[in-house]
Every structure is written in structure tokens, then in C-alpha cells.
Symmetry: C2
Subunit: 238 residues, 2 copies
DNA sequence: TCTCATAAATGAACACGTTCATTTTTGTTG
DNA sequence: CAACAAAAATGAACGTGTTCATTTATGAGA
């Protein structure tokens, strides 16, 4: 994914891209991600196979475009829909909103996540291909923390934001495996996360727990999970 | 994977299976997992393409067989190589041994993990196809906990063992993305995990932290991540 | 309107994982 | 040894994601 949306494209190209993306998402919703072939997508969009590949480098790129759309929604919501409260409460809200958002897109997102966790994939959650989404969603969790009533100051807030971003990925991973109706198990897990955050929050003032957080954030940074821009924040060491 | 090893097979079949597996692992080590085709494997083993599929239902099955072998090694090591110490220390040792073990098999294991995290895959970490490895490695971490000098009693020990098993998967996931030489970042992360366990261990006696652990273990159980046998331990609810 | 470079679009071809109808080998029984 | 069922082995064929050489449209400048 070069740009958040098809910027730098001719109007005609943008329309075509949009048409193909719509066809893809519709088919995914109908028959599922795996069962939808690239040829199906092209036919449905009234385009040729090659054309689909002109705008989307791979099948998973459709899923990435979908997730990018959701991330943009999240960003808007975080800007003016996020109520006041503690870090724990705001994290829970953000996650519940995310779960609602994501609930009707299991198939494509599962395929995306599988690739996102593969370091070799062009769509690795840590690679360049996903820097856009990472920044967007990372920003959301930074806001969750920094706007909270019990927000830590500067440095720790950034660390906590990053860790919560990672936690959000872990919870989504859990959700993919959650077969309970309405994702009840996942919602309970989110509740547990809220409780745990509430219980541990005071301990963040103490050096041992503060160090744990720093190390965790440092570890994420070391493998390139930085939500603060594409090339900034190089690993601490070679 | 039906059986830990090719049990229930004719001697000839077992030999053939072994020959094909060896060819596969050798090629994976040489040119990498993705770059090795099933046709390559068959040719190298002096077999036909179809024959390879007679013994391995898919390409990833090779990786699963590899991991099964490693899990067996781990089990033996846990039986008589695991020194006395606290849960925190023993967990660190187990992870460091695992990292050494795994260090020369990045490619195939990365491919396996990508599938293992995909709920739809036959090789999902939570599915039947992987029950064998899960039991083996789960048993290792149960032993890590229950044999420790500061082991909690019965129920909590089982919970902690399961959570550490899950943590071990998370750390392996981290390792796949770790580009530092000798997996230095991962080793540091393991050190941090040891510190954190040491710091939090006493809190497990207190109700709030004990509840956190129970919930976490329950959450894992809810999605079928049970290391205590194939069909036992059904989800707590529909 | 004509020219022509650039963008858009095409679809045949490829590679690779996987399937399966068929053939060959093996071992057992009379 | 002959007959034959079961196991082992074969390789052609298929589906699908992806590539790319080629063709067709578009629009700006003369």
C-alpha cells in the first residue's frame, strides 16, 4: 500500500480501483475470502484479471485496504467519540468499538493477520507495507492513554500507548479464534484486560513495574513495531 | 498428523516417509522453505510428487513434523535436564533451550507459525492437527512450574503452566521478527520475562492477581488452547 | 485533426500446491 | 508358482495466485 487511499491517481484510475475494491469486499462478504478467486473479483468488477493486479499487488492487499478503512474510522472516533476516563476504561471502550467494527469481516481479516504475523510477507505487521495502518491505529492508542484522567507523563505514556497497541493486536488474534456467539469470550477478555490495567496502573509509579513497561516497549521497538512514523525509531542496536 | 511418528506404518512405508522428510528438511535448510517446491522434495527423495502427498498431507506438514521432533527433544530435556530453581528461573532456562533448538529452522517454523495462527488452517495451533505438539510442549511448561521451588499449588500451577505455554508461543512469534544477531533482542526479552515473573510471583498469592491469572487461563481455555489432552477441557460455555 | 507519449487494460502463460484415477509392487494363500 | 488383494507409487491434470508482453484508450500539443 503506497498511500492511505488512491492518492496520486488519475480520476479514472481511482474510479476503477474503487470499483474493483468494492467487488472484492462484496464477494468476500458473500462467499468468504478463501472461496473468492481473483478471477471472480475481476469478473464481478467488469475488469480483466491483469487490471486487478494493476491496483492491488496481491489478494491480501484487499484485506489491507479494508483494514485501512477501519483504522480511519477508528481514528475519527478517537478524535471526538472517546469519552473521558481512566486508561483502563478508555482502552476497554476502544477495544469494544474495534470489535464491533471488525465483527463482520472475519474472513479477510484473518487472512490478513496470518500474513501480518509472517515476517517474510510484504504485509508483515512490522514492515513498510503496513506502516500506514500502524501509524493510524498506534495514534488511536496513544490518544487513549494521553487523554486519560490517569495518564502517565510523556515518556511512559508513549511506552504504554505502544504496548496497548500490541495488546490490541493480541486481542484481535484471540478474537479470530473465538467461536463463541457475539464474541463473548473476547469481550470478557477485554474486561479482564481492563481489570488488570486498573490493578497494575498504580504500580507503574514504582521502579520495578515501570522498568517492566520500558523493557516491553523497548522489545517492541527492537523488532520494528513502532507506531510513531515509518522510518523514525530505528532498533536500539544492530 | 495422525501419530507422533509414523506408527501404524509398514516398515517400507516408514522408510519412505523418513526419506521424504529428510529430503524436505535438507532442502528447507539449504534454500529456504518458500523456495523449496514439493516437486523439489520429491525429486530429491527419489520419489514422485504424488508419493510425497501420500505421507504428508501438505507442505506445512513437514514443518509440523519438524516441530514435533523439537518438542520431543524438549520433553526429554525437561524430564532430566531441568535444574532446580524458581518458576521464573526455570521458565527462562526452558525458553533459552528452546531458542537454541529452534535457531537453525527459522524458515519452516515461520511458515508453520503463520498457519498455526490462522484459525481456518488445519494446522491451527488450537486444532486437532496440532494436539500432539500442544500436549508435549504444554507438558514441558507444566513441569517447569510444578517442579519449581516456589510452585503454586495444584490449580494455580496448572493455570500458570498453560499461560507460560502461551507466553512461549508469543516469544517465539517475537523471535521470528527478531533480526538482531544471535537473537539478542529475544534473549533480552526472555530476561525481562524472568524479571517480571519474579516481580509478580508474590502477588499471585493476593486475590486480585490470582484472579487475573485465572481469567487469563480461562480465556485460553475458551478458545481451545488446552494442553491437557485432545478432547478434554471443553470450552466453559457454548 | 493528427501525432504520440503515457496511462489503462487485456489475457495468455507460468509456477506451484494439491488431487486422483491408474499402474506397479508386495506379500499372502492355495 | 499362480492368483489376487492390499499397499505403494505414479504423473497427468486442475485451480488459483501472479506475471508480463502486448494492445487499446486518453489527452496534450502542434
Amino acid at each position: 500500500m503506497e498511500e492511505p487511499l488512491g492518492r496520486g491517481l488519475t480520476p479514472k484510475a481511482r474510479r476503477t480501483r474503487e470499483r474493483i475494491l468494492e467487488a472484492a469486499l462484496e464477494l468476500f462478504a458473500d462467499r468468504g475470502y478463501e472461496a473468492t478467486t481473483m478471477r471472480d473479483v475481476a469478473r464481478e468488477a467488469g475488469a480483466s484479471l491483469g487490471l486487478a493486479y494493476r491496483y492491488f499487488a496481491s489478494k491480501e492487499e484487499f484485506a489491507l485496504a479494508l483494514y485501512m478503512g477501519l483504522a480511519e474510522e477508528s481514528e475519527e472516533w478517537a478524535r471526538d467519540g472517546l469519552a473521558a476516563g481512566t486508561v483502563a476504561e478508555r482502552f476497554e471502550w476502544a477495544m469494544l468499538v474495534k470489535l464491533d467494527q471488525v465483527s463482520s469481516h472475519r474472513g479477510p481479516l484473518a487472512a490478513l493477520l496470518a500474513r501480518a504475523l509472517d515476517p517474510n510477507s510484504r504485509l508483515s505487521a512490522l514492515g513498510e507495507g503496513t506502516a500506514g495502518v500502524r501509524e493510524k491505529m498506534g495514534g488511536v492508542f496513544l490518544k487513549v492513554v494521553s487523554g486519560a484522567s490517569d495518564a502517565p507523563r510523556e515518556k511512559q505514556a508513549r511506552e504504554l500507548g505502544n504496548v496497548l497497541y500490541a495488546l490490541h493486536l493480541a486481542i484481535l488474534l484471540y478474537w479470530f479464534h473465538d467461536k463463541t456467539p457475539e464474541a463473548r469470550a473476547t469481550r470478557e477478555l477485554v474486561g479482564s484486560a481492563r481489570e488488570t490495567l486498573r490493578y497494575l496502573r498504580p504500580a507503574l509509579r514504582l521502579p520495578p513495574m515501570s522498568r517492566v513497561l520500558s523493557r516491553l516497549a523497548g522489545a517492541l521497538n527492537d523488532i520494528g513495531m513502532n507506531t510513531t512514523g515509518p522510518s523514525r525509531g530505528e532498533p536500539r542496536r544492530a
